[in-house]
């Protein structure tokens, strides 16, 4: 799959933002007044900034409101609905903390649940794709959810929780990579089933339909990015999990916490780039490519 910068930025930032909002909704840290204001500003900048980045890859962003209508079948529509519900609920809860020094707690719990639900709907947009076997498994939502919680814990300054959640997120990420490697072969889709010509013999692509490229090849067949997959996994794993865990174990100050967050975000960007670059769409088979 083509690793579009808008989608990588969107899923990374909004995952972090909704992770932070989840912790704020749970009252972790227990803040009010100006401190609460700045925590909520960070959460909203990340979540809303991510959402607006996703609008850049639309052909017609001016019609985006229509995307709230098909929640019965479409995970993208469900994501739109839950994200707005989460942002509105958390805005009310945040207003209580900032302006009235009161935690309207049930509202916070609902907001936290909706924030996590938003991350889950994002992950399901990818998980539902039977056409991309690497994504079509339970480890995809597990990776998105644990990563969002780990990043949220880091941003919320929850040192102990963040160590535990970073470990968990690291494990689901490694599981997603290793199990993901076997998914295409196990999907049962190959050139024989794609063309129906398998019972005659071995199928090879002889000539593509056109001399140039096309939308399908640009969007779905991204071979270049996989070349350094192993090295990038190592870099992503070190930056996103190992370095922040070590920093949080050593000594928690504002400087180490900031460094841990920066390292984590850089690592998640690398992991998310790989999430798209390593994903192979079955349509590539028609072109004899993966």
């Amino acid at each position: 799959m083509h690793p579009a910068p808008s989608v990588i930025i969107f899923t990374t930032l909004s995952g972090l933002g909704f992770g932070l909002l989840t912790f704020l909704g749970l009252g972790l840290p227990d803040v009010t007044g100006w401190t609460a204001f700045w925590f909520f500003v960070i959460g909203y900048v990340l979540a809303v900034g991510g959402l607006s980045a996703s609008a850049f890859h639309l052909g017609h962003p001016e019609r985006a409101l229509k995307a709230f209508t098909q929640w019965k079948t479409s995970w993208l529509s469900r994501e739109a609905v839950t994200s707005v519900a989460a942002l509105l609920t958390m805005a009310l809860y945040g207003a209580g903390l900032v302006f009235f020094d009161t935690a309207w707690q049930p509202l916070g719990w609902i907001g936290a649940a909706l924030s996590l639900l938003t991350v889950f709907t994002t992950s399901m947009i990818y998980t539902q794709m039977k056409t991309v076997p690497r994504w079509h498994m339970v480890w995809t939502p597990a990776h998105f959810l644990t990563l969002s919680l780990a990043g949220g814990a880091l941003l919320a300054g929850q040192a102990f929780a963040s160590i535990f959640l970073l470990l968990l997120a690291g494990m689901t990420t490694v599981a997603m990579w290793i199990i993901g490697d076997t998914r295409f072969a196990r999907s049962g889709t190959d050139m024989a089933t794609a063309t129906g010509l398998g019972r005659i013999g071995t199928v090879k692509a002889f000539e593509p339909p056109h001399t140039g490229t096309n939308y399908l090849l640009r969007e779905f067949v991204h071979v270049v990015g996989r070349k350094h997959g192993r090295k990038l996994r190592l870099i992503a794993g070190l930056l996103a999990f190992v370095v922040p865990i070590l920093l949080m174990l050593l000594l928690v100050t504002h400087v180490t916490a900031a460094l841990a967050i920066l390292s984590h975000v850089a690592g998640v960007f690398a992991a998310r780039w790989l999430f798209f670059a390593e994903a192979e769409h079955v349509v590539g088979l028609y072109y004899g490519k993966r």
Partner: protein, 254 residues
């Protein structure tokens, strides 16, 4: 709405005969011609006369080389070239429809055609992700999703002579490799062809239940083992007589 109909009254679709297709790409051209001038946004091209041309097509013809397995009777079987037109298969369980966030993609209850309402399409591209066949292409100029309409503006069009009320690709195919009809009717041309020739689904394991069927190439004829020209090349006379015979003998003695 992006909920799929439980059942459609008709199941309109195509049968594509891989035995007959000669790979001339006439269906590609007639499809682009009709659909760029009629239903919905035109099918744009980018850099059409430049170094890196690309464009939107609703139907494309691939070519494959298939190498049969060697057997003891045939240790070196010849590879076959098979031309393979591909367009939307108008699936019964169309995954492209249910993922659409705006309701722009839908499957018609009356005839099962999968269409895009372009004024509702936000161009997110998710339906193209969900399609395993590469049947949907986002138009680079219009920013909306384009796909085969089964020429919905021809097949019911009473302004056209009756013979033209078929999809443009079917109407133009010079080899007769494309057939249009209703799969819900077991007596239709397409249902009978599918039954007689063992029509196939593409990627059945994807669970899309495609309506369009592909007829597999028939087994190749066996080449005769003898040389067809041999009888005509045998010497006319083995033991010539007369003047030629005398000349032959005289020259032998020299």
């Amino acid at each position: 709405m992006t909920q799929l109909p439980a059942q459609t009254q008709k199941k309109l679709g195509l049968v594509i005969d891989l035995d007959t297709c000669v790979g001339c790409h006439a269906c590609v051209i007639s499809c682009k011609g009709w659909n760029t001038e009629n239903y919905g946004a035109p099918l744009s091209d980018q850099d059409a006369y430049g170094a890196n041309p690309s464009g939107t097509f609703l139907n494309r013809v691939h070519s494959y080389s298939v190498q049969p397995l060697a057997t003891s009777a045939k240790p070196h079987p010849a590879a076959q070239t098979i031309h393979f037109p591909k367009s939307c298969l108008h699936c019964e369980d169309a995954p492209c429809v249910t993922v659409c966030p705006t309701g722009a993609s839908y499957k018609r209850t009356e005839d099962g055609i999968v269409l895009v309402n372009e004024s509702d399409c936000i161009g997110c591209g998710l339906c193209a992700w969900a399609c395993p066949y590469g049947a949907r292409e986002l138009d680079a100029a219009e920013g909306v999703m384009k796909k085969c309409t089964l020429c919905v503006d021809r097949i019911y069009n009473e302004n056209l002579p009756e013979v033209d009320r078929t999809p443009a690709c079917v109407r133009t195919c010079p080899a007769g490799a494309r057939h249009f009809g209703d799969f819900a009717d077991p007596e239709s041309n397409v249902s009978r062809l599918t039954a007689e020739r063992g029509g196939l689904d593409l990627m059945p394991e994807q669970g899309t239940k495609p309506v369009n069927k592909y007829l597999p190439p028939r087994p190749k004829d066996e080449m005769p083992e003898f040389d067809v020209l041999a009888p005509y090349l045998e010497p006319v006379a083995e033991n010539p007589g007369g003047f030629i015979g005398w000349l032959d003998r005289a020259l032998e003695k020299l």
